[in-house]
Each structure stands twice: as C-alpha cells, then as structure tokens.
Amino acid sequence: MAIAGYAIGAQFGYIYVRAEYPLAIHRLRIAINQARDLGLLGKNILGTNFSFDVEIKIGAGAFICGEETALINSIEGGRGEPTVKPPYPAQVGLWKKPTNINNVETFANVPPIILNGADWFSSIGTEKSKGTKVFALAGKVNNVGLVEVPMGITLREIIYDLGGGIKGDKKFKAVQTGGPSGGCIPADHLDTPIDYDTLNALGSMMGSGGMIVMDEDDCMVNIAKFYLEFSCDESCGRCTACRVGNKRMLEILNKITEGKGEMEDLEMLKELAETIKDSSLCGLGQTSPNPVLSTMKFFYDEYLAHVKDKSCPAGVCTELLKYYIIPEKCVGCTACAKVCPVNVIHGEPRKVHVYKRQDV
C-alpha cells in the first residue's frame, strides 16, 4: 500500500477488515506497528520525504462492503451500500477524492513484481491473466486450505493433485468458484485451464477465490438455493432487482425443493435470473443469479427431477424424500417401529411392516 501511495502521491491508506475477523485485525495491528518501527510506515519513510500511514477500519460485518463504493461509504460513516459507477473510485472516491482501492491480494503482488520485474511476473499465468491466484479450496476434497496456483492451471489439477481428490472416493459432481455468487462448474469442464475469462465464459467467476467442491451427494438445486439465500441476506436492499428479485428467485427455488414446482416456475426462474443479472446496480446483484443460472445450465436434469418427478436425486431435499419399507427384506423385528418417535411405522411382530403417515 505504501508503494501504491508513493506511486499516486497518496499519504494515507485504510485497511478495511470485518469486525468478525478479530484475529486478522490483531495480526494486522502487530504488522503495522512493526512496519512503523522499521520506518516503513509513518513520516519520512526510509529517510525520504515520502510519508505514508495506514489505519484499520473495522467494518460492521456486511458482505456488500467488499464492493468498492459500498466500502467507501462505510469508511465515511454512511450506510454500506454501493453507488452508481461511473464515477469510479479512481475519479470520485473516499471523501470525494480520487481513490485507489484494491484487494489485499492485488497489493501483495506488487512487491515481487518490483523485485523481479514485469517479465518475470508475465512469465507466470496465461496470455490475459498473468501471475498467480490464491484459492480457498474447500468442500468435499481431502486437502482443504489456501492454495496459490499459477493462472491457467486446470480445475482437475487443483482438485485432484493439490486437493488430493474427493473425500471418501465419491464421484465429483461440480466445483463452485468465486464465492457465493460464482457459478457451479461440472465435471466436463475439469480440464479447462482457468483464468478470469474462462471462468466467466463458464458462467462463474474468479471472484473472491473461493473454490468449493461438491460430490454426488450434493443436490444442485439445493446448492443454488443455499448460495441465493446468502445473497438475499447480504443484499443491501437498495435496488429493486436485487432486493425483490433475489427474494422471488429464492421463493421459486423453495417451491421447487418442496416439490411444489411447476414447469412454468423453471421458465420464470431463468428469466428472472437473467434480468436480475442485467439490471442490478452493483456486482452483488449482477452475479447473485450465477449459482442458479449455472446449475440450470449444467444440471437441468436435477431441476426436472424436482419439478416433474418430485424427487431429489441426491436425496438432500427433505420434503421430497420418500420412505418405504421393502417388504421382501422386512422380518417384522419391530426394532424400527419401537424407536420411531412419531409412530409412522405400523405392523405386527414377525409380520411385514408398513410406513404410513397419518397426515398424507
């Protein structure tokens, strides 16, 4: 940041950290103090005329404050909600002044580039996406954690080589990249070299660098619902598309996972998702339909199963689960009937039992 400040003639920087990350704040404070002690921050850095200092701004815990204009509003003490761009922060930013605002990862790339040169940096990565990228690998893989990989690596390499494959040797189903508003990428695309463009082309994104692996036990409709729930909760509520649109999408998804969905709902869901993407004010709303659109694109059969057959192939959507007793296998031991807390298993000892709910 100090280098960036030197480059653009800024003397002060803010580091914005959510209040829920006290450990990060604690460590940052130590690091900032150490930098000050070493003369790398503060007045007359390294004995030059250049002065630069930073302050930690603790956010109140809103996902949307990762959006640059919302972050600026939050630092200024306003409600953390995005504003229309342009003007971009580089034109009108914090306190209405031109502002350079970047993610930590971007700043972290600067010193090695200065030390090793641009050619060195460009030698890593793909034609359009240079350098490396840190992914937070999680989900159904054997090794979870942060991985820094060169751009252009394939998903397969990350998941199988670095991640050590799928937990319990289950079948890989999809990988969700880019945080809550990224898309789900199916097995067919495991060998795609990933960079900003290819991920976008697949209906997902690089985003925050999140990478969550799903296996055969995951229901993709439920996954879409899960991420959309997050976006609904974290929407700032400013624009119609995101505030009401995401809510309506979520309601349709709820309908589908409860077995009440109809074919028109699928059409409506797709149209709404596309419109929200096209109409929202900020990046959150413009990307929140990604989980829905990508799962509809790659796992449409699962949607059809929920809507037409009223079944959840992965057995996740509880409302769609059907229980029954296989007559050939039942010996009438009564063990299941004895422990059933809601008395829905009926039958005489040593005779075939039946599962029957009074309410349906």
Partner: protein, 579 residues
C-alpha cells in the same frame, strides 16, 4: 459537447448530460420512478435504485440506468429494445409483487407514481408471488403518516430530509428484502427530531408517506348540531386548490374556495390572512421594541411550526431570538374562541376551528400544550389543501362552477401584506411595510421589497433603509438553508436585524400539504406569481391598515403587544433533544 445516438437519432449534448436528460431533448420519454430532479431547490435524487429507466448501451455488458448515466462521446443508446423493455416491466412487476396493491382504497389513488407507471407500461398481471413486507404503521405525530408497506425504496424522502432539510430523520435500515426506510432505532416519528415539514410527503411517489387525515373528524363536527364549526384558510390554499380540479396552476380561486367551504356546512368562513395581519402588527411592534434595545436581535419570524420545532431541536441555545408571536392560524384560533365568541355570543367550547392549511406541521402544532386556553384548544383540526379537495369531491360540489363568494366578517378581512405570507420572503416584506411606517411615521409609497422575493436563492439578503437606519434582512427557505444561516448567527459570522425562515423550499406555496407537483416546480412558480398578483389586487396592502384588525384591538384586544394580546397571541419555546 459530446456526440451521441439515441434510438438512431444523432444529437450533441453538453458534457455531464444524463441519458435521461438527453432523451428528453429529442422527445424520447424514458419511464422513471425513483428519479426526481428538483434542480431549483437543489434536490436531485439520483439513487438509480428502482431500475425502471434501464436502457441498452452498445458495448456495455449490462443495462444502464438512464437517470444516473452520463453521456460519453460516441455513445449509442437504445431505449426500447426487447431487453430493456423486459427488464423495465420486470422491475415494476417486482415492485408490485411487494406492494399492497390496494389502489382502490389508497390515499394516493390517482396521484401515485407507481400506479401511473404500471398503467403506462400496461401491466395487467403480476407474475411474481411471494412474501410481502409488513411493517408497523406510524401515526404517532398526528401529522405525518408512515406506511412502510408502500415504500418502494426510492429514497427520495431520505434525499429531501437529509440533504435539503438536513433533519436526518430517514435512513435505510436492515438488509435485503427486509430493507426499509425508517427513523433511527425505528422510533415513532413523534419521538424524533422530525419537524413534520412534510417535504418527504411531497416527494414520496406512493402512499408510504402521507398526512394523518382529519377529514372524517371534520365531517363529524360539521354534522354535529351542538357544534359551531368555522373555517380559516391559509393564503397558499387559494393559489393551489384549483389544481385539484383541473385548473391551470396559479389560478386564484379565493371566491370559489369560500363558496365551497360554505356549502360543506361551515357556519363561518374566515381567513387566516386576517390573523396574518394581526401577526404583523404584533411582530412589527416586537421588532421595533427589540430595535430599541428591548430584547435580542435578530428577530426571527415564527409563523412556521416546522421551523419552530427545528430551532427547538437544533439550536436550543438560540430560543430567545424567534418572535414570541404565535403562528397566524393559532392566533386566529385564539381570537375566534375569545373575541369572536364574545362578539357573536357563542360559547367557546361549542366553537370548532378547522384550519385549511398547505402544511402538515400545523397538524402537529395544534397539539402543543401551550396552545390551549382553559382546556380548550385554539384550533381543533387541521386539514391540508389535498384533504379539503377530497371533501369538496366527496360532497359532490362542481368546484369550477361554484360562484365567487366573500369571506365572512369580521375575521375575513385582510390585506395584501397577509396574502404574501404564503411565499418565501412574504412575512418579512409584510413586516417591513408596517415597521417602515411606524418607525418613520411616513407613508410607504413603494410597498414591494423585491430583494426578499424569489424561489431560486435559498438564502436571500437585503438591506432596507428606514430613516437613517440600514436594516439587514435575511430570508431562508428550506431547513438546510435555515441551518446555515443559524450556524452563522450562532457563531457570530453574520448579523441581521430581522430574519424570515420558512421550512419548505419556496414557502407555504410548496408546503407538505399542497397538491402534488410531481417534480414540476413550474407549478410552484405559478403559485408564487399568483400570490403576488393577489397582493396587487388588494385595495389595502399594509397589515396595520386592516380595518377589522383595528376594530378588534379597539373593541377587545387593547394595546398592540399589550397584556391581553400577549396572553392570547404570543407563545414560548421549549428546548428539545436531538435524535
């Protein structure tokens, strides 16, 4: 200048022009909802939150809001593509899916921007079903009614309240679908520092913000044989009421207004203007006293209850500078229930005073405890211009065909000085007309003080020479301007002898209870011109020459600024918290 193309029409526009403004230049109407540009009073709502004005721009990934996107060189815009229309309709449907859609029985039926938009876009079905927001309705102030269920999050009220009026009552709270515009801590409005100016009501596109209506109470009183119901009308009503009945903005309908009130059943139809003349003689006396060293300068006019509440909350240390005069309609109430009651031998407890006002704050004002006399309120009900128009329609009166009738005596007599109370600068001009003559003992020939007039400047200054004195006059309209002025006075940066402050930009003609202007300030300008026309039409243009006022002091009130006058016509102020 930049070259752009809209729907294949090429044009040049100045830099900084929005797509919406550019489209207007070539007569292309892009529908909007949250957008509002009240340029003259420096209120521009450019939140781009409703997403109704979306258009397609060649080379841009997503749709752009026309209201908040500035044109750039070579921009190619299409406003009516399938994609844009689909998005626009979807946005309106989404808004309607979270709206009560009880248009038939809605306060804003026929006056609602959302309703009009849905009609304009030909929306016949709301495809989206789901949860609807429900919030607590708030009528705690007895003045301003909040129904957040109908809020579409346009944030116009926030812009108006926070940026123009600087009261900071509203902010978006919560997240996602639960987001709603609300006072801090969701306090009842009466517990906030809201001044009830009603400018938020003026700009609310739906019925999320309206007035607390007293129409049914007034009907009840009118139909009660034991009550003697009299009406008074503020100066700003007569230049705006016609709009409700399709007349050109600025049409003066004083005679028809009086006739309508009579036909609604009011026993007497009086004029707040009479009381405005009383206000002027009392205030001019107070002003001259203060000029002579009795009390602190500047003197601040006190006719605007919203502004009074503002100073009580925001500048409690300055409460000795406003004039102690009650506002004209409160003076009227006090006079009606004493002087008039005695003169016509009507028991004061039987008299019901109904004020027809351009104002929402007046509804709050009449509830203040200091405006009671032996448990009898000075004024019983306040209805707005809009509520009055509703009563006229409900009664089946064909307003435009009504004959022109005169106010009743004696509280119907007024001068040109009192009429101009309805516009910014008017009260101080009226006071100057009287103060000039009283100080100099000479007749004022040129009664018009143009330096204090006009909508455009929020803060006006004028120097008036009276004898060898140079009086410095300040005029502020809009509470943000009032705040700037008061801060400077508090900090000793400016000095004035007298100041007029009106909470609403433009004064009462643009009050929170006036017919909705829907963003067209030309309407307000027409009302302003009409007020000055009415002043010019009056044979008497100085308050102290009002014969009915002179008679009242002679018969009943005694000395101007005397003991009785002080008891009935003056008030005091209370410091209040900021929240």
């Amino acid at each position: 200048m930049v070259n752009i193309t809209i729907n294949d029409i090429k044009l040049q526009v100045p830099e900084g022009t929005t797509i919406l403004q550019a489209a207007k230049m070539v007569n292309i109407n892009i529908p909007t909802l949250c957008h509002l540009d009240l340029h003259d009073i420096k209120m521009v709502n450019r939140t781009a939150s409703c997403r109704v004005c979306l258009v397609e721009i060649e080379g841009r990934r997503n749709l752009a809001p026309a209201c908040a996107t500035e044109c750039f060189e070579g921009m190619i815009i299409r406003t009516n593509t399938k994609r844009a229309i689909r998005a626009r309709r979807t946005m309106v449907e989404l808004l309607l899916s979270d709206h009560p859609t009880d248009c038939l029985v809605c306060e804003k039926n026929g006056n609602c921007d959302l309703q009009k938009l849905a009609a304009d876009l030909g929306i016949r079905k709301i495809r989206f079903e789901g949860e609807k927001s429900t919030y607590t309705k708030d009528s705690s102030s007895g003045a301003l009614y909040r129904n957040p269920d109908k809020c579409i999050m346009c944030r116009r009220c926030e812009t108006m309240c926070n940026e123009v009026q600087t009261c900071g009552i509203y902010s978006a709270v919560d997240r996602g679908f639960e987001t709603v515009v609300s006072p801090a801590f969701n306090l009842p409005m009466i517990d906030t520092q809201c001044t009830f100016c009603g400018q938020c009501v003026s700009v609310c596109p739906t019925a999320a913000l309206t007035e607390v209506s007293y129409v049914s109470k007034v009907w009840e009183a009118l139909h009660d044989p034991d009550k003697y119901v009299i009406a008074q009308t503020a100066p700003a009503i007569r230049v705006a009421l016609g709009e409700e009945f399709g007349l050109e903005p600025g049409t003066i309908v004083t005679g028809k207004m009086v006739a309508a009130l009579r036909r609604l059943g009011f026993k007497k139809v009086f004029d707040t203007d009479f009381a405005a003349d009383v206000t002027i003689v009392e205030e001019a006396k107070e002003f001259i006293d203060r000029l002579n060293g009795k009390g602190r300068l500047p003197i601040l006019t006190s006719c605007c209850p919203s502004w009074v509440k503002f100073i009580e909350h925001q500048f409690p240390e300055l409460l000795d500078i406003p004039s102690t005069c009650k506002s004209p309609h409160m003076m009227f109430g006090a006079i009606a229930k004493t002087y008039f009651a005695e003169k016509f031998n009507i028991p004061p407890e039987k008299i019901v005073v109904v004020s027809v006002m351009p104002c929402i704050a007046k509804k709050y004002e009449i509830q203040r405890k200091e405006f009671e006399e032996d448990g009898i309120k000075n004024v019983d009900y306040v209805i707005t211009t809009r509520e009055f128009a509703k009563m006229i329609r409900e009664a089946g009166l064909d307003f435009t065909k009504l004959p022109d009738e005169d106010f009743d005596d004696p509280l119907g007599e007024s001068t040109g000085a009192s009429v101009i109370f309805g516009v910014t600068g008017g009260v101080i001009e009226a006071a100057l007309r009287t103060a000039y003559e009283w100080i100099t003992g000479e007749t004022l020939e040129k009664v018009e003080f143009h330096g204090v007039r006009g909508l455009e400047d929020g803060l006006k200054e004028a120097t008036v020479k009276i004898k060898d004195m140079e009086l410095k006059i300040g005029v502020a309209h809009g509470l943000g301007n009032a705040r700037r002025l008061l801060e400077d006075i508090r900090d000793g940066k400016r000095f004035y002898h007298a100041i007029e402050i009106m909470a609403c930009p433009g004064g009462c003609i643009d009050g929170g209870g006036q017919p909705y202007h829907h963003g067209n300030l030309d309407i307000v300008r027409a009302r302003l011109n009409a007020i000055y026309e009415e002043d010019r039409n009056k044979p008497i243009r100085k308050s102290h020459e009002n014969p009915a006022v002179i008679a009242m002091y002679k018969e009943y009130m005694g000395e101007i600024g005397g003991e009785k006058a002080h008891h009935l016509l003056h008030t005091h102020y209370t410091p209040r918290e900021r929240i």
